[in-house]
Every structure is written in structure tokens, then in C-alpha cells.
Symmetry: C2
Subunit: 210 residues, 2 copies
């Protein structure tokens, strides 16, 4: 096995695929176009990944790792209150959206363009989504929110809404708007009395269990 090339063939393929799958769509991106963009031979792709489907799975991994890196490394290193840590997530989103090669979330885009009934894409993307939401819930829990499940769901909606809006409008400001809305949500969960907590919790739990 080679020690480590400047950019390995495997990585060149992964980067090109990630870019093209989001920029042009998965079905619309042919193997040949990936190879051209990666500057790699046809055989190498199948030697490393075996199929287009496996290549997509690898792209899923890299995108999930980006999120895990945020939650497990970037955010914990911040010296600030839990509340500000939650809001800092939206700053990370803004940086992501501002990248010139941001064209949406590959999970969302993949689910959008694949069969919705019992397909592997939904399962894989859904599993990663659950792991991401779990980390978000941990973050929310540390903030001492009255109803962490509900707050997590609300923030999740804002995050997904920001991603889609940023994809459609090509404007990273969506993250800032989402941050302001998140502040509203956090402010209200602080000051709202807990009498409507149970009902809210039940709804959040129901959404989660699906």
C-alpha cells in the first residue's frame, strides 16, 4: 500500500463525487463526468468503490463526518455558555453555506431524488440524521432547556430550513436568519411556564419515533 500520495486517487474521486452529486444531482451526474472532474481513470473508480452506489455511500460518510466534527470537536472547544454553543452551530452553517462549492445537503438531496418507499438511501440518510439530531439534543440538554426534545425538534426544523433555503437562494444569510429564529425559540422556552410542556413533549416524541 502506498504511504500517502499528495491527493490519493480515492480522495480525488470522493471530492469530485461530493461536489457533482450536490451541484448537478446524483442521477444527473454520470460516472464519466465524475472521472473527468477527478482526473481519474474509469477502472480506478470501480477498483476503489465498486459501484456508483458505494461511491454515494462514501460521500454520505464524508458529509456525516463534517457534522460529527462540528458537534464533537468544534463546538465543545468553544469557551461559552451552552446557549451560545447552540447558536454557534448556526455560524458554522453560515460558513458552510458560504463555500463556493455548497449546493445543499447531500442527504436531503439524495432522499429528494430517490424512491421514498423502502429504499436504502432513506435508511442510510435517516440513520445519519438521527445521529446528528442526537448530538443536537445533547447540546440542547446541556443548556438546561425546559423541554429539550421539543427545542431540539424546533432547532432541527430551522437547520433543515436554512440548508434548503441556502441551496435555493444561494445565499448564506439563511443561516443568520435561522440563528435569529433559534434565539426566539430559546428565549421562549426559557420564559414559558411548564404547563404546556407535557403536550409539547409528546408531540416531539411522536415525531422522533418515526
Amino acid at each position: 500500500m502506498t504511504k500517502e500520495a499528495r491527493t490519493s486517487t480515492e480522495e480525488k474521486l470522493l471530492l469530485a463525487a461530493r461536489r457533482l452529486f450536490c451541484r448537478a444531482g446524483i442521477h444527473a451526474t454520470g460516472i464519466t463526468r465524475i472521472l473527468e472532474e477527478a482526473g481519474v481513470a474509469r477502472g480506478s473508480l470501480y477498483a476503489h468503490y465498486g459501484s456508483k452506489e458505494n461511491l454515494l455511500k462514501a460521500v454520505f460518510d464524508t458529509e456525516a463526518n463534517m457534522w460529527f466534527h462540528w458537534f464533537d470537536l468544534d463546538l465543545p472547544h468553544l469557551k461559552c455558555s451552552p446557549r451560545e454553543r447552540i447558536l454557534a452551530l448556526f455560524d458554522l452553517l453560515e460558513k458552510w453555506f458560504a463555500k463556493e462549492d455548497f449546493f445543499g445537503c447531500v442527504f436531503i438531496n439524495a432522499v429528494a431524488e430517490h424512491e421514498k418507499d423502502s429504499r436504502w438511501v432513506k435508511d442510510v440518510a435517516g440513520a445519519y440524521r438521527d445521529q446528528i439530531i442526537d448530538r443536537l439534543r445533547t447540546l440542547v440538554g446541556e443548556s438546561g432547556a425546559t423541554d429539550p426534545d421539543m427545542v431540539t425538534q424546533k432547532l432541527g426544523l430551522l437547520i433543515e430550513g436554512a440548508i434548503v433555503t441556502a441551496m435555493v437562494t444561494q445565499n448564506s444569510q439563511a443561516a443568520y436568519i435561522a440563528r435569529l429564529a433559534a434565539e426566539d425559540v430559546l428565549r421562549c422556552t426559557e420564559c414559558v411556564s411548564p404547563e404546556n410542556g407535557p403536550t409539547s413533549s409528546a408531540a416531539a416524541a411522536a415525531l422522533e419515533s418515526t
Copy 2:
């Protein structure tokens, strides 16, 4: 011209296409599958729509009309406060999500799986999106919000987030969570003093103009 068949060939095609484009993806849906589902002959599709692309445009129209019907007919008929009218929009979303043939928003899904650089899909979907956001802003304006543009953007994020979450989780509860978050947003814009208004407005305007 025929008077009006029980379900015209044109409409059968439109309904099948709308269903399949969202359930299975646009690129993944072959013409033949649409024809099978619609129970219509191949030639009829091209006689009525000319191309798959035109058929997609027609599906865009029907989805946009759904939104326009909500804003222009359903919501105005409600005898309630402007604030409750805004929240009622999320109840309409919930009903939409609960339909057995809901598989996401065709605009979002179409943008997700098409070329993001200068493609007609983005223009057409974006134009309809602007019209929908405009109607939402009117609704927000009627509620006498301090900063209608900002509130509109926040609600827009919640709506798009709810649509995507409902698509991924297949659970209409996303609309209810979004409604609760929308209440938070509305509550905060009522009680927040206007000193941070200008900054917020500028950000909202910047997002809008793209």
C-alpha cells in the same frame, strides 16, 4: 374540444407525474412509468405536453396553485386574527403532509436534483417561491409585526424545514412543531423592542434580493 371527461387524459398524466416525480424522483421516473401509472398511451403524453420537461413545468404549476389557493382563498376566509391566520398556514401544511401521496415539495426536490448553475429549474422554481413568499409577507404585514420582512424570512425557514423534515421522516407532526416554533417567533417579535429592528431588516432584505 371535448366538453369535460370524468378525468381528462391531460389530468391523468399530470396527477401521475406529480405523484411519481415526488415519490421516486424526477430523473428516476421514466416516461414509461408515468404512462403506466396514468393509464395513458405514449403518444398522448407528447401530444399534450411535448416533452418531459414541459410536463414537469405543468406539475410546477399545479403545486404553485395549491399554495396560491391557500393564501388567496383558504386563509382569507378564516374568521380569526391575522396572527392566527399565519398559524393556520401550518395547519394546512399538516394536512398536506398527512396525505398518503405526500413525498416532499416538487420545487425543492427538483432544485435538489438538477444542475444548480443557470438552469431553468432554478429560475422557474425560484420565481414561484418568490410569489409564495410575497403572499406570506402580506399575511405577516397584516399582523402588524414590527419587522415583517424578518418575520417572513423566519417563517419561511420554518415552512421549508417542515417540508423537508416531513419528507424525510414521513411524519406530518413536523408541521405542528413548526407551528409551535412559529408561535415563538411571533411572540418574540411582539415583545422585542425595535432597537435591533434595522439590523434585522437589512439582513432579511439581503437574503431576499438574491
